[in-house]
Chain length 208, copies 2
Amino acid sequence: MSAHTESHKYQQQRLQAIRSAAAVFAEKGFHGSSTRDIAEHMGIKQGSLYYYFKSKEEALGEVCLFGIEDYADHMKVIAASDQSFESKLMATITSHLSSYRERNEALKVYNDERLYLPEEKRRNLKVLGSGYRQLLEEIFEEGVRSGALRGSIDCHFAAQAVIGICNAWGDLIVRDPDLDLFDIIQKCTDLLINGFRERRTIERPIDQ
Amino acid sequence: MSAHTESHKYQQQRLQAIRSAAAVFAEKGFHGSSTRDIAEHMGIKQGSLYYYFKSKEEALGEVCLFGIEDYADHMKVIAASDQSFESKLMATITSHLSSYRERNEALKVYNDERLYLPEEKRRNLKVLGSGYRQLLEEIFEEGVRSGALRGSIDCHFAAQAVIGICNAWGDLIVRDPDLDLFDIIQKCTDLLINGFRERRTIERPIDQ
DNA sequence: CTTTTTTTCTATAGACCTATAGAATTCTTC
DNA sequence: GAAGAATTCTATAGGTCTATAGAAAAAAAG
């Protein structure tokens, strides 16, 4: 219970357990999933799961964290860079929608089930999650200052709109994996930039 | 079990039960809520709940239906009217956000928990729910035909965007009941119309 | 006030679920 | 290949949950 938990194989298997939990929680919800379901998904027996998690709640916490960890990191990098408002927005959307494709199960769990975490864990995640919204809001504020957006825009609503559209279109992506991600990213940037100012000029994205 | 189910008081109490179920499901999710929780919320004992529902699942079905019934109706009326594209869009947003305020609990349950319904009930609801998206899509198609939007717009994505933003902003409304609903409706219409075409002219709303 | 009907209650069967303890197995290392 | 460590298994205690049955209480009807 001390040294072995650091072993490479243990960490690898634990990650597998987190992924299984993510898949099951995403499909049936936290309370709708049993530890047996999760164990079955990764091919072990119910009791064995407790070798990796000390409780079902801990599993939920790990899934949520997995869902947003490098997501929030990305955002910090983007916000700190010195690109134009439009590039930053597009980079944000790219990051958001890409995460949606790769980690959609864990992200869905984070979005839908995190409120079932104990208060303390939830606060820890909130630092990451609302850091995300916060940074997004700041990007919009900068857009207003720089004149890229008209002045009357409410940045709090704008940030929320980005999240809403990305989640909604993220669902479309998950449902139909053949969709062209980049095309959607452009549509989305387009919509938001057009939506918040009168005219727009097209701008190159940074990556992906 | 035959005539009394038609009595006035019975129907009234049953509606109360549906509202209680909505509140509890909205807070804790379907699987996270027990029949005891629901009964307690309406001030009766757990077993008595089965006088109004034959199962917990039936309660969920009723809550979901309650959440979207007149919502889908509204949409039909709007789509069938012969207002301009912009008016129709604004009316849709008005209806969506107003429902969010009044019936947000049941609507949240419809959005988040309907997948736990048995296949058959879910299909029945889907007729209503995706009828909604369908009509919304048609409104956009008409907007394109009429020249109010530029031609390249993908109406399927547009409809999804409306839903995404309304849900996201609906959450803001629920969280802060002091917000000015009409102001938000305007912001939202603004964003969407600007988002999907190059320039916009401001237009009067129809009601509310 | 008595009878009938409607509504609520109590009590419980039967199922399932989490978490733990200790045995069995597999993997490492010497 | 024997000793020790890591991983998985079986079995189960103790709890909660849904749904039902039948008694009790409240309301309506006669």
